[in-house]
Symmetry: C2
Subunit: 170 residues, 2 copies
């Protein structure tokens, strides 16, 4: 019964707690709050990643990993699949959820658009953490144009090649 | 797959975050942390309570409500039932879980006994919040004698009767 909404309730409380004005932390409280939410998401994503079946951990194709996030991981956390996945085939992926469950409660008006970032930080961390366990370093950001839809942009960080040797320029 | 452990991962992260030494809050940080965990649990419990089917909200017998917590609520959150429920039939109930999932990770040694309270605060709040939605004010405390077993003591607060009028005593 209430099982499917437990995560959402808990997330709501975490955001409320970490976003609340904290007189001890002053004006940097909200920035710290976002950063904490993101790092909590990262560690939960890592832990979820470690629970994956071994055969899943075996795949190493970027696109397979991203598809896995859009299907299996999203279903595990949000009980639905991501709505679309686009890529430029150069390491950038855009994952779109047309009705992101954590934004639905604030989706009734445009006046809440500015509230959106605090509801996205944890999930950005979650994606980044799961990718980390699967062997990919990434940058994950989120954007919202029309609540409750949102897009997560994942940029896979390529391992750096050898640093070109410096050449005399003068 | 990972669905069933999501709550536990998230709880672990919340405890780690709220228990961590916070230089801004000084020595009262851990006491504040416990209190925050408990109040988060309370609000999640209230929210879960509001999602119950209407016929469930109809019951008003204390013992039925406590049985509901031990079965339905525990299964929804921890995917298992409480192991036993005892009562003195005077408003005090002891709910025992012989292998409380949030204590299992620290159950490997007695040296972790002192760590237990931080893993119990949220759940005390959760029980108290669910009882609140069901119409009962309560005090909920937890105790651990042998990890990972623990007992939650619920004392239902009776509505006060009329205050006796003062009588002349001199």
């Amino acid at each position: 019964m209430a099982d499917t909404v437990l995560f959402e309730f808990l997330h709501t409380e975490m955001v409320a707690e970490l976003w609340a004005p904290d007189p001890d932390r002053g004006p940097r409280a909200q920035k710290i709050g976002l950063s904490i939410l993101e790092s909590m998401g990262f560690r939960v994503g890592q832990a979820l990643g470690e629970r994956l079946p071994q055969e899943t951990l075996g795949f190493r194709e970027e696109l397979d990993v991203l598809k896995f996030l859009c299907k299996d991981l999203w279903v595990a956390v949000f009980h639905k699949q991501m709505d679309s996945l686009h890529t430029d085939h150069q390491g950038t992926y855009v994952l779109q959820d047309n009705s992101f469950p954590l934004l639905v409660p604030i989706a009734s008006g445009l006046q809440y658009m500015e509230e959106a970032p605090k509801f996205l930080a944890f999930t950005c961390g979650l994606l980044c953490g799961a990718l980390s366990t699967l062997g990919f370093q990434s940058l994950v950001t989120a954007s919202v144009t029309a609540l409750p839809a949102c897009k997560f942009q994942v940029v896979i960080q390529k391992p750096r090649g050898p640093v070109p040797s410096l050449k005399e320029a003068l």
